[in-house]
Assembly symmetry: C2
């Protein structure tokens, strides 16, 4: 079964391959009778068109690739869900590939773009520098989502990270906190850097001093959250609140707080960023800055598909900012 080609179908029903192809693509100008004969033959032979041939001819694959630093993070998967939701009714397939934080693997995966295996790529984070991305965008259809790259004139969908950080810290201040710590990755991550900027601006706006010992820059790795908290709580004057640039770090922090015999949401307020599912499952549940993942996914792929269709010249390479929102849960409290 099903190594049949369109030619076999044509022979089977006594029509030409062109007519069979027309039926397959339901083009105009094919008689009822022929259509039926073709369908019968397809049924009989268990024929399924070979997309390699079709795509080669059409110079398109109707497949969008989503790459991400790691697939073991539900945040990315939420975005993928949004992308899929938009693609499905439009005849596009979505495939994901995680490069496990290896830029080497990322480069390999981008080959799917170069060798025409996919029509476009959405990068949820990347190790490519801006110039490289700009160059790629000239020839191919690419987009960034949730992690922008400074200086990249590439279609991008992100929240306002700086403002998000600002709002998070502001909400902590409004709850009465004065000594607020920061736990983030290092500054080479655009989003972490910007969220820190927001943190600093909020302190400044509310005339709170910046204490260097309260600023913990490390990585996005889970462990870093706990380690930072350990350090913070051993200070002679520990913070009463901590803003983490990701929920994963926040959860790690909450955990460590508990391990230290303290209670998040009572002894120290913890705030994250992203609003991953786990925030609600934690006890205490974790306050955070929500990124509208589904909407971001839908928006970025909508724009990307538009670029793909508008194969002639003028591509949209704007940066779209989507609104974030503050979600207060049990891990924060009024002082």
């Amino acid at each position: 079964m099903s190594d049949a080609t369109i030619k076999d179908v044509a022979n089977e029903c006594g029509l030409s391959v062109a007519t069979v192809s027309r039926v397959l693509n339901n083009s105009a100008n094919v008689s009822e009778r022929s259509a039926k004969r073709v369908h019968d033959a397809i049924e009989k032979l268990g024929y399924s068109p070979n997309f390699l041939g079709r795509n080669l001819r059409k110079r398109e694959t109707n497949v969008i690739l989503v790459t991400m630093p790691t697939s073991e993070h539900s945040f990315y998967m939420k975005i993928v869900a949004g992308i899929q939701q938009y693609c499905q009714p439009r005849g596009y397939d979505v495939i994901c590939a995680s490069y496990n934080n290896s830029s080497e693997v990322e480069v390999r995966q981008m080959n799917m773009l170069f060798n025409r295996t996919v029509d476009g790529v959405i990068l949820l984070g990347t190790s490519y520098p801006a110039e490289k991305l700009n160059k790629l965008a000239e020839t191919y259809n690419i987009a960034l989502c949730c992690e922008g790259v400074e200086g990249a004139d590439v279609l991008t969908v992100v929240v306002d990270d700086e403002q998000g950080g600002y709002d998070a810290v502001k909400s902590l201040i409004k709850l009465g906190h004065r000594r607020i710590a920061f736990i983030g990755a290092n500054d080479s991550s655009a989003s972490s850097f910007k969220r820190k900027e927001g943190y600093l601006r909020a302190l400044k706006d509310f005339q709170l001093p910046v204490y260097d010992e309260l600023i913990c820059c490390g990585t996005f790795e889970y462990e870093h959250g706990g380690e930072a908290v350990e350090k913070l709580m051993s200070l002679k004057e520990p913070p009463t609140a901590v803003f983490c640039v990701s929920d994963l770090l926040a959860i790690s922090a909450v955990h460590k707080v508990h391990e230290l015999g303290l209670e998040a949401g009572k002894d120290i307020a913890v705030m994250g960023f992203d609003n991953i599912t786990m925030c609600e499952m934690m006890m205490p549940s974790v306050s955070t800055v929500e990124q509208p993942c589904k909407e971001m996914g839908e928006l970025v792929v909508k724009k990307l598909l538009a670029n793909i269709s508008a194969s002639g010249g003028e591509k949209d390479n704007k940066c779209y900012i989507v609104p974030h929102s503050i979600i207060l849960r049990e891990s924060t409290f009024r002082i």
Copy 2:
């Protein structure tokens, strides 16, 4: 840049396309000098081979598809990580697609197999019945992982679900529990059904009575865990322990217990299945039956690739059982 074809490269360097192709595939019998000329031309033109052409000719794509009911479950992603780890050094790419529990979407995704977009598929759960799978396996390279299908003679990698359930319940019994509840999906899920069988066998083995009111079959949805616990705890004689067929259900249960003002690991023991990352992050951390995800992923894809290579006849369609293990954490306790 890079709409160059192999022909352009051939013209550029004054050699035939055959020679260029040989260089590209580093076949034997091509002179140093020619190789260099080809590489220079490729560099100059920014050429990247079109895989649609190549794959069409070679009748292979070197891509493996992994389908799953939902991508928002870290358990699946752990398996994918194992699959990727095995594939990467062997020149295969891995792509994932979630069908969001819609069999319609699943069917659509399987088209990638029929239309030769991928060389093989690994199904982490499926809505296909056994006969259908058997038929597919005749023509295509498919494998099941973590969720087997009764009666499907298809390459499969799973843990012994029945024994896993047995061992989980046995460990609860050893901790002194006598009234042990069961929270699972309905019996149409093979894994849930088997884990229940194991639960029942353990009760029988240790001469404990089966109480129907302690058996809660519903779905794999998060909410079901909490609802079941609510029901269980309102019984005149509530259980002292509960075995859940998945960690997600267990976590939901732990949550509800907390909401009811009780404490998991103290007032009631909760045990899950899978050992997803979240188990360790919970407070209390959740006891569970570990499935060796990475190993399962590696094994299933190893066998699948072997089948793909052995294109002639004798395919391996055995069912491989990998060992599970019991992990006791804070959510269980000695009574």
